[in-house]
């Protein structure tokens, strides 16, 4: 279970506080969605959960399965079962996808994954996600299209099998076919031991991945939560109306 209490986070480079007293709990087995206008701290939240060196926690705690994450290194968090599917996955020349994923699985697993087991699983997952064979020998994300990169994040998730997957705008820049594939991957992971935090602008991914809870973030806090219908309501009425309904005093970036 992920538990975030009274979280305050600043961006190191600018010293600007972006998250201002955020509370969030994601029990095992549940898929939660965070929606919110641009510049409201959604990506900051996901990167902070993973321990990005770009952000600092100034107050509050993040814990996972009862262990406090605040001062834990990123790779330790990953070995605890956390995973992040990035909005902009990094390109790394010189490291092959296949070698990278094997190294990642070995890092997270209790004992090394044999080459045979690894290749069998990779075959299965690539087939499941409709990823071309040539992909394995290509360098990590190098020269990948936006859709290929996102698909690669989902592939990694399915290979590593984390307990909590944070998916940061995994749906942006995807055409319908790719969106369906990505959603299929997420749904395939769903069970009692897997939970997910999906960050998105649009509810179109929610047509394929049914969330247990939808949260709305504004001004660095979760301002309201609800079920799937909250997302539909937002789609119809927009963030400004919701803000005014709730009587919150924040300025929307795109206003």
């Amino acid at each position: 279970m992920l538990k975030i209490e009274n979280l305050h986070v600043k961006i190191n480079e600018t010293d600007e506080e972006v998250i201002k007293g955020l509370n969030l709990t994601i029990p095992d087995g549940e898929v939660h969605v965070i929606m919110g206008p641009n510049g409201t701290g959604k990506s900051t939240l996901s990167q902070t959960i993973m321990g990005s060196p770009k952000y600092s926690i100034t107050e509050g705690t993040i814990s996972f399965d009862g262990k406090e994450l605040n001062n834990m290194a990123t790779d330790e968090r990953a070995r605890l079962g956390l995973f992040i599917g990035m909005q902009y996955p990094t390109e790394i020349s010189g490291i092959k996808n296949v070698d990278f994923i094997h190294a990642a699985m070995n890092a997270v697993a209790d004992k090394p994954v044999s080459v045979l087991d690894f290749m069998n699983r990779l075959d299965y997952v690539m087939n499941f996600l409709d990823i071309d064979e040539s992909y394995t020998d290509r360098y990590l994300n190098e020269g990948f299209s936006g859709g290929e990169k996102k698909r690669n994040e989902i592939l990694q998730m399915m290979m590593i099998q984390p307990n909590l997957a944070i998916l940061d705008e995994i749906d942006s820049g995807l055409d319908i076919d790719a969106l369906k594939v990505v959603s299929k991957g997420i749904n395939h992971m769903r069970d009692n031991h897997f939970s997910s935090l999906i960050i998105t602008h649009y509810n179109r991914i929610l047509r394929y991945v049914k969330p247990d809870v939808v949260h709305v973030m504004m001004g660095g806090r979760v301002v309201t939560s609800g079920d799937y219908h909250l997302a539909e309501q937002l789609e119809q009425n927009g963030y400004a109306q919701l803000r005014d309904q709730l009587g919150i005093d924040v300025k929307l970036v795109d206003e």
Binding site: D75, P89, T90, G94
Partner: protein, 385 residues
């Protein structure tokens, strides 16, 4: 007991023209310049001791059957004066160029000669490492690939090396000759000076692959002369320096004739308190229309105390050409490091993967798989430890 140049020459029955050439070089060396970056590599002349030499063709049987000659240089000077007299330190490396070259010729202790006859093609790489005595300071290799021949060579250093080490390699390519040269420069010498120069006739094609993974201070100089119309050269070099090492890599390709093409690709890792300098020149002479010259050099520094420097130079006298250069010196990319860590890979392993990944795209161009593994294993030993 040390001998004079003349006594040494007599001890292995060298031809007189060579002895005279050595004596002239010895007499003239003090009037010649010592290039500034090579000042510390102007070694004391080595002690000359009597040596007996093998006068046989040392090429493996299957290569001898093709007419290939691999011999001690001094023995070859007797047997093939017409091939050696006008080429030894006259074309690819010129003995009058500087005091180091002259002294090298005068005090040359061990040498090898390789001749590939016209139109001979060999598939597997020819190992020429044992043609020189690795324990000697002044060593030389003269390689002639006659017109239309197609070969590749491998040179590997042995573990035993003198305190000061100098190896000069000359490769001469006839018309349409196609040569690949792999040099695993992994000496343990305190100071190592290596020269790999080549001269190309018409439509000749040379590719060099250098793994400069030595341990001491080093100067690696490579000068490729595209003299023949339509000739082309590719220099591929990866380097690694650590501890207090100081490396200078100076590469130069000169386009002298029309339709010539030169490309220099270099990538290096600079660790600990070491320093690496890439001094890279592409020169296109006025006569060399329709030619191209390109260079890509990148250095990765692993610690705040490691220093990398690149001097890319293009000297263009003809305007009907394509020329370019790219150079970068940088640290491990923090975004990439973070990405690997988000997958559970610990910081040390992540750094190593990125360091190895930095060299991999260039190492993968090396044609020989065992060579690739040799380099990658060596890198892992020294960086991952």
């Amino acid at each position: 007991m040390s001998m004079s140049v003349q006594e040494f020459a007599l001890s292995h029955n060298e031809p007189q023209w060579l002895t005279v050439k050595r004596i002239v070089a010895n007499d003239m060396k003090n009037t010649m310049r010592v290039p500034a970056p090579l000042r510390k590599f102007h070694f004391e002349s080595p002690e000359l001791n009597p040596c007996s030499i093998d006068t046989q063709n040392l090429a493996p049987k299957n290569l001898q059957d093709l007419g290939i000659i691999m011999m001690d240089l001094f023995a070859a000077a007797n047997e093939f004066p017409e091939l050696i007299q006008e080429n030894l330190m006259e074309k690819a490396i010129y003995w009058r160029d500087n005091a180091l070259n002259a002294n090298h010729l005068a005090y040359l202790q061990s040498g090898g000669f390789v001749f590939i006859p016209k139109d001979v093609c060999v598939d597997e790489s020819i190992d020429i490492s044992d043609l020189v005595d690795h324990n000697m300071q002044e060593k030389h290799l003269l390689i002639i690939a006659a017109s239309g021949s197609e070969v590749s060579f491998t040179y590997k250093d042995s573990k035993q090396q003198p305190k000061n080490d100098r190896l000069m390699i000359e490769v001469l390519l006839g018309d349409h000759a196609n040569v690949s040269f792999y040099d695993a420069a992994m000496t343990n010498s305190e100071k190592s000076h290596r020269v790999l120069n080549a001269y190309l006739a018409q439509n000749a094609n040379l590719k060099t692959y250098v793994g400069l993974f030595n341990h001491g201070d080093s100067r690696y100089y490579s000068n490729i002369d595209l003299d023949g119309m339509g000739s082309s050269a590719r220099i591929n070099l990866v380097s690694l320096s650590d501890q207090n090492q100081n490396q200078v890599v100076q590469t130069k390709i000169i386009n002298k004739s029309p339709n010539t093409s030169g490309l220099i690709s270099q990538r290096g890792i600079v660790a600990d308190k070491s320093k690496t300098v890439y001094d890279t020149t592409g020169q296109i002479k006025l006569e060399a229309s329709d030619s191209d010259s390109d260079q890509i050099s990148r250095l990765l520094t692993l610690s705040p105390e490691s220093k990398g420097k690149i001097d890319p130079i293009l000297l263009i006298d003809n305007h009907d050409v394509v020329a370019g250069h790219a150079a970068s010196v940088g640290k491990v990319n923090p975004e990439q490091l973070y990405y690997l860590k988000t997958r559970g890979i610990d910081a040390k392993t992540a750094r190593f993967l990125l360091t190895r990944g930095f060299l991999t795209p260039l190492i993968e161009k090396f044609p020989d798989k065992t060579v690739q593994e040799h380099l990658l294993n060596n890198l892992e030993e020294r960086i991952h430890g």
